[in-house]
Amino acid sequence: MNSDKITKTVLFSVSILILMLAAGMLYSLVGGAIPAFKEFGLKFIFSGEWNPTEGEEKYGALPFIVGTLMTSFGALILCLPLSFSTSLFLGEYFRGTRVARILGLLVDLLAGIPSIVYGLWGFYVLRPALIEIGFGGRGFGIFTAALILAVMIIPYATSLSNEIISMVPNDLKEAAYSLGATRLEVITSVTIPNARSGIVAGYILAFGRALGETMAVTMLIGNTNQIPTSFFGTGNTMASVIANQFGEADGLKLSSLIAIGLLLFLITGIINAAGKLIIKKMN
């Protein structure tokens, strides 16, 4: 065998190995979730009851699905004005300047901070600050978690939109300027419409990150197992309930947690695929 063939074989086997790892993970998730689905059927997804009392065990994923959607959408809405203005600033107004480069680096730096550090900061700084400004109770809840999530997903939303915005061809912008458009008109009628699907994809990917974010959320959301009734109440997300309870879980409860993990895996998979598909379609 020549070296070319060896390289090819090695690379091929390694890629297959990774594929098998992913498949194996999915297999064990499905395997682990089967008892829960066998016991509760599809009602597992739609039931809001979470009762671990022995003898009358009942588990439903709905509180956590709702909690996940509320924190993630909340984070998306909170992050939108910040990241959108930042990406316009970086990709259009100050494109190519030193200020933009430095700010871009700082935004990327936000992505590198570990989740647990965000959690600590949220717990010891953000939460007391919220209590200070009159936030009820002990400062835990969906809103607090969404706030920290928003900060965490800003870099993802910003850097992709910034990239797409700065990719809008200059000759299109010049064409608009040559027709007497002002800078703001160029941005609203040329830059944003041309970058639209990329910007949307950026937010979808950021949303995907928010769905699965665990540590910081677990530390701040309050960890209650009912369907949350308001944005300022406590709750649990799919990720945080697993992080919170897997240690003491066995039997049906463990299977239910794994089933929640499987659902989360599927939802984030679909969201990420949708985001990537839009980006691929754009190029």
Partner: protein, 259 residues
């Protein structure tokens, strides 16, 4: 010392000692010319001679870039263009670019009317329809696209797209149309269509055309500027320049010794 005609009758544009620098490095040096109304005036010269730079000074496009500075004066119908707002000036000076660049997110109709929309000028639907039809007829595109006005302009051929861009520039009824090598991305058939169009358009508009294609300048322009290394070398009637160039550099360029 340049060999240029001192003045023309009925100049629509007059440039006085116009110089343009990129990061303090001069790309156009002290150009003074007067451009006659209802003519096609070609700006020729080898790559890097400053011809596009000069053209883009006329609608103050350089002001979009911080590293470009302009000195000297330019007048449109006797009014100093540097005293006008660039927004207003650009409505009087249509521009057509090297590569066709219709707005990809807009329909053909919206592309033609884009100038009005971008400027927030309110028009009645009937008026808009008329502007779109007139502009598209002016560029001989109406018959080809009248049934697909609300489709995206990007599905047209390159030549059609460029004519759409010319229609977009015409929609405002500008006085001058600045064209930066408008046929350099087109095939020969599409090129000759655009050339025919320019000859027709000069009845109502004044066209300033940057071209690296000498035979194009010879075919369709009335006046020609020859630029070299940022300087205006020669300016005169195209006919005279091609048959009897005054400056030796012009002659060398026209006979293909450089460029």
């Amino acid at each position: 010392m340049t060999n240029t005609i001192a003045e023309v009758k009925k100049p629509i544009l007059s440039l006085k000692d116009l110089s343009i620098a990129y990061d303090k490095k001069y790309a156009v040096k002290n150009v003074s010319v007067e451009i006659k109304k209802n003519t096609v005036t070609a700006i020729m010269g080898p790559s890097g001679c400053g011809k596009s730079t000069l053209l883009r000074a006329l609608n103050r496009m350089h002001e979009l870039y911080e590293n470009i500075s302009t000195e000297g004066e330019a007048f449109l119908n006797g009014k100093n263009i540097y005293d006008m707002s660039p927004i207003k000036l650009r409505r009087h000076m249509g521009m057509v670019f090297q590569r066709p660049n219709p707005f990809p997110t807009m329909s053909i109709y919206d592309n033609v009317i884009a100038g009005y929309k971008l400027n927030g000028i309110r028009t009645k639907k009937k008026e808009r329809d008329e502007i779109v039809e007139r502009s598209l007829r002016d560029v001989a595109l109406w018959d080809e696209v009248k049934d697909s006005l609300f489709k995206k302009g990007t599905f047209l051929s390159g030549g059609q797209q460029q004519r759409l861009c010319i229609a977009r520039a015409l929609a405002f009824s500008p006085e001058v149309i600045l064209m930066d090598e408008p046929t350099s991305a087109l095939d020969p058939v599409a090129t000759s269509k655009v050339e025919d169009l320019l000859v027709k358009l000069k009845e109502n508009y004044t066209i300033v055309l940057v071209t690296h294609n000498m035979s194009q300048a010879a075919r369709i322009s009335d006046y020609s500027l020859f630029m070299y290394l940022g300087e205006l070398v020669e300016y005169g009637k195209t006919k005279n320049m091609f048959t009897n160039p005054i400056d030796p550099r012009t002659e060398e360029y026209l006979t293909g010794k450089f460029g």
